[in-house]
């Protein structure tokens, strides 16, 4: 009596075969109403909760769920506006397809973890994972469809994102066109080691976050094209995409001997910190100092921030659509747009 209830239990009691009982749920048209109702009644009496999902999944070879792997600790990801917007897009796609979304935490020690090993999924999204992360390798080994968002770019794995390099080039061109020759570039995380500080070419070459590296390279390209000497560009990596840290860094730079006349922040969040630092120093953005961002998240308009618009929602939607078969599979470079607002101006002499 304490045995678990399975299809067989019900089959025995009703006097039909296991298969018929199975059909009562999965293919109701395969049996007579009379038998089906009798089966459901007995199932209810026995407290049977419907076909076991694990067994079902094993036999059918599908999970009706896709996975999502994120760089960040999940706690942080759910707080980040860009990630939240991406999730909205993913949600829209899976909702349509009646497919679950399994969010898989990664252990802090950069391993793989039981959660990923046990993840019953038909495919997996990877959002801004660092190149060479063991979890990425583990997933590639599994023979399920994958899509990366923002990075990394992997052979044979569709990529969804924007032309980060081109976008940042446009952004930097704008800044240089106003005559700025002394620029602080605030980069989002490039290497996966929580390092915070000025960085050199060597570190850039060792970068694992594709979009960060691309944005920095785009900035350099614009500098070269505009004939800006490299020593006029100070590159600073902020390991955590948070405005407070950016504010400290910019405040320090402004208090230095040779303060920059412009700050190119490679995310709006960092730009917000830069703006706060500038304002605190009595500088008017767009007049006394030029500050630009990247992403055009909601707050950017309020801050009157010049930035690059990209749609996190679309990235999420398109990537997930590929996995649920709602969109053709393959690389997808989404559009971006330079949004000119008030925080850019000529060098103040």
């Amino acid at each position: 009596m304490s045995q678990r209830v399975t299809l067989q239990t019900i089959a025995d009691k009703v006097g039909v075969s296991r298969t018929t009982v199975s059909n009562a749920w999965s293919r109701p048209d395969q049996l007579s109403d009379e038998v089906r109702i009798r089966i459901l009644k007995v199932a209810d009496e026995l407290g049977y909760g419907g076909p076991n999902p694990a067994a079902r999944g094993l036999r059918r070879g599908r999970a009706d769920a896709i996975g999502l792997l994120l760089t960040e600790t999940l706690q942080y990801a759910f707080g980040d506006p860009h990630a939240a917007e991406l999730l909205r897009g993913v949600a829209a796609a899976i909702e349509k397809a009646d497919t679950g979304l399994l969010i898989v935490p990664l252990p802090p020690q950069r391993g793989i973890g039981e959660a990923l090993r046990s993840a019953v999924i038909d495919g997996c999204l990877m959002y801004s994972m660092p190149t060479g992360h063991p979890a990425v390798d583990a997933l590639r080994h599994r023979q399920i469809p994958l899509v990366t968002i923002d990075g990394p770019r992997l052979e044979g794995v569709p990529f969804v994102g924007i032309d980060d390099r081109g976008a940042s080039r446009e952004l930097a061109e704008l800044v240089f066109s106003y005559g700025h020759r002394d620029v602080l570039v605030l980069s989002i995380r490039i290497v996966d080691d929580l390092h915070d500080g000025p960085i050199d070419e060597q570190r850039l070459d060792a970068g694992v976050y594709r979009n960060a590296v691309e944005r920095v390279r785009g900035t350099f390209e614009a500098a070269d094209a505009a004939g800006v000497p490299r020593d006029g560009i100070r590159l600073y990596e902020v390991s955590r995409n948070h405005r407070d840290r950016a504010q400290e860094v910019v405040a320090a730079a402004l208090a230095s001997e040779r303060p920059p006349t412009a700050v190119i922040a490679l995310s709006d969040e960092l730009a917000a910190g830069a703006l706060a630092a500038a304002t605190a120093s009595g500088l008017r953005p767009g007049t006394d100092i030029t500050i630009v961002g990247f992403d055009d998240q909601d707050a950017a308009a309020h801050l009157d921030l010049t930035t690059v618009r990209q749609s996190a929602y679309d990235k999420g939607y398109q990537a997930a659509a590929q996995l649920v078969g709602a969109a053709p599979v393959g690389d997808l470079v989404l559009p971006h747009q330079l949004v000119r607002r008030g925080t850019v101006g000529p060098v103040r002499t």
Copy 2:
């Protein structure tokens, strides 16, 4: 050659048993290094991606994942600050436990859907589901641990939330103590039919969203205790927790023959709409009109809104902790706190 690679494939090639191959992953201490390395090498050559999660899950009887069922369309849920904060809490708990989080979409037609039927999970959170939803029943039938957050209250299912009734009573008491006798109560969704408009007791009795019903009842209790006649209280249900709609409703009320002197909004989002409407009518909150909210989400402080503080993060964390075995299982009523700010004042004569 095109056959799928399984443990058996590898076992045959290496010349050991299936189980030994299995052990190479699951219990590395059970076999000699020499054999294990040989197995892993062959596995790699054959492109084996590790033990099949579905089969593993079936045999082991666990999924290393918990589910999350939400009222809303997911798209909306990821945009809602309170839900996002809750997710952060959930994320913190599952991250610690190395457990996945499966977010299950519900089909728009109030059914169950393949995603839920196939959900391979060890337990499930339900966040503010309406009483009597078929998905709730389906989950209860399944013999896995459940926890409801905010509602419904189900026999034998632990509940995590706050004392919504007591909290709203305190909130209303404050308002009535300032002499308000003509109050508009803006309620979040009570019944699951997208109805928008004034509501009566009968509809309240038929309410399916526990926290909404409780908050309204608490308000009534405070009114009774303060000797406020029931016809001095206009109850209006806003089906979608969005400020724009609240603004319209409050604007209309303020333009009516007998405008309310206070608005009790049962969420901060609705309160934000009420504030916007008041300001647009030239009324100064706290001076010309009293407005209170509920939740104390981030925006509330900026709006100087008097409200009730509760921690969505804690709700999520505690509920998830119960499912992953990190906290004792059982009902948990978390603390709340009346936060007095500037939007409350005496009736202006």
